[in-house]
Amino acid sequence: MLPFLVNRLAQGAVILVLVSFVAFGITAAAPGNAMQTFIDPNIPPAELRAAQERLGLDRPIHVQYLRWVREVAQGNLGYSFRTGRPVAAFVGSRLGPTFLLMGTAFALTLVLALWLGTATAARPYTVLDYGVTGAAFAGISVPSFFTAMALVYLFSLRLGWFPTSGFEDYAAGHAGWRLFVDRLWHLVLPVTTLVLTGAAELVRHVRSAVLDEMRQDYVRTARSKGVGEGAVLRRHALRNSLLPVITLVGVSLPRLLAGSVIVETVFAWPGMGRLLVESVFARDYPVAMAINMLGAALVLLGSLLADVLYAVVDPRVRYS
């Protein structure tokens, strides 16, 4: 196991370097740069050029890239072009809210999908199955911004149960457990949006994986031994159908921290997804690069984690 891990981590490092190269190239290839977003009659082009020179934006892309690599190698992620903030702290401050939002949503998605997926696989082609399948297709087809706005319209504007947006009630300035409850309250609608779209996809995977297992010989054996249907489902079929689910969980890990661009924007959530969009539109490369690299690192980590979990869950899988 250890050589496998070392090997994979080394591969990961190489891939990260390649990703940084491509990501920087694509980001820098976008027309225009940070200073060109300031066209102001009171600021002549000569001043804009001077500012571009200070930021190194007048240099060829490969020179800019090498400078970025050199800085990052020394642990310096640089400063945001748009705000002048140190990138590490700027991006870091967005991690918490995104993790809270995506983590909650992901846990609930998993629970809901496993429950409904198993339930529908246990009674395929029944009213429940058709109902869940229909709802799942609707969930997959409806874009999340629409779901989000529909929820806001219904539960905030019509019923007045939940706030429309934000991380907390800023004017109230809550502290302690009141702040905790207030934040939970603000979490409900964005999390619901993410769960509705996320579970819709996952429930289909779980259902078909469990159905596959239910047709296996060992399930028939278990049944013929007289094991109850509930135990067959939970102890035998579900456990074995977790393998594909683990893969999905592994690749979903980066989404936990990279955030959801759309949901964070619609709910004015102070997360990474929103920051990424803002920095791309402002051509704020240091910030966009930091988020891209974080996302890439998490994809690698997620797939490694999935591989390790395979070995844990499935004794047939051995890495040597």
């Binding site: 225009g32 500012a51 007048d58 002048g84 809210p97 429309t164 619609v266």
Partner: protein, 553 residues
Amino acid sequence: MRRGPITRSIHLALALALAASAFAQGGAQRTCAAVGGTATIAQWSEPGNLNPLIFPTTYDENIQELVFARLIRPTETLAFEPDMAEGWEVSEDGRTLTFTLREGLTWHDGQPLTASDVAFTFTAMAHPEYPGGRYAEISVLEGAEEYHAGAADSVSGIQVIDDRTVSLTTVEPYAPILPVIGGIYILPEHVYGAVDITSWQQDATNREPVGSGPFVFQQWRPGEFIEVTAFDGYWEGRPCLDRLIVRFGDQNTMLAALLNGEVDAAPVPVDGAANVSSNPNLELFVVDTLSFQYVGTNLRNPLLADPAVRRAMAMAINRDAIVTGLLQGYGSKLDTLFPSNHWSYPQDLEPIPYDPEGARRLLEEAGWTLQGEYRSKDGQQLALTLYVPTGNQVRERTGPIIQANLRQVGIRVDIESMDFPTLVTHLMPTDAQGTPRAVTTEDFDLFLLGFGIERDPNEYFSYLLPEHMPPNGFNFIGVDIPAVSEAMRQGTVTLDQDERAALYQEVGRLMSESLAWIPLYQAQELYGANARLQGFGPDVRGVNVNMANWSVR
């Protein structure tokens, strides 16, 4: 709350002449409908930084206005009135303005505010290493160029006379000097002077500003909000509110928050106007602005160099339909490149008619004959590409309308959408090495863009003069009309306001004939405010202009 046009209402020369007697009464006591409480307002984008001398945007300035103060400030009619200066005097030769600060001014941290803070601020803008982009504004001060070039230790045109008196001297009499001074927020020397000017762009003072304005900065949570609290020592009296919170979010998100009572005031997109006006808790504010949208034409392109083609385009575009349809009536069309509610706008202007038949006739007379759906001349089709920058929904939707209108008169228009920085790479092109170069026929044909007067029509200078074509300025379209250039040059040195207004109005007439900028429409800004918030009164100067008088029930 619709306001009519402000006609020729800035009387700069008058202001200059009366300056000696312009000393206002100090120690004004504020009348509040209620004192205390917290108000929450929204804006659509987060500020980049809160140092007013670092590349300010409108979103930055809306917040800077809460925390900082200026020597003088614009009035509702866009003249200038005393702010931290209680008055000013103009020298005989018109080159020196001497400002007297109010008594007992302090910074938010309790330090006294003196003339040397003022000198520090203006001098910093001329510093050879100053990174904020605003040097050009004060380069007219005597000795600024020498100091900026590193050939002098100070700017000779900035003189501290005593703790409360500072004088500013220009090289030549400079007509728009008050608009320049009225646009510069004063920074505390004891805070910003302690930071190396080369690191101003990154320094923490950008995030935790110390000013002398009505509100004291408290905190800024990126992606969420900025919080400020009332400044007890504000010269004009403590603001009515205890606390003001400014949230940032997407247009529709902030509209929902307004409708749900989570924010007390927010800008409203045109599509949301009906939701706000039909809500019993909300009031819709309709505010005139000094900005407008136009079609820019690349005059280097032989097709567009033909005045008949530009005139035909202007006559073929149904601007009334844009105003009544897209703007839902919240705006008006305009016939030249100055906003119609500004004193630079010639009110006697011949309106550009909507006349597709006349446009067809003009094109026929100029030799453009129909070949199928579109016109041609000498084997060349009358086909143009219109660049549409994204980000302003109403403007984006005018693209297809213009396309359809022009097709009706036989002009083919292809639309390309792009974000603003991409458009800039076409308007201000660079060569393969990244060095800025001159614009050519190939760089663009037509583009949609907005322009607005921030403080003074002199801001058009680098858009209209031939020596300011890229890479040396923003004359993207390549306009070169000697009479326009001459009037613009005279406009910077003519101190008499009536004469000055006549000069810019002449520019307006000439540009309406030329149609190098095809003027489209002037949109009004919409804001919604909760009945809980009293005294909210955005005007042509901005949304937060009277925030010290806001109160909550």
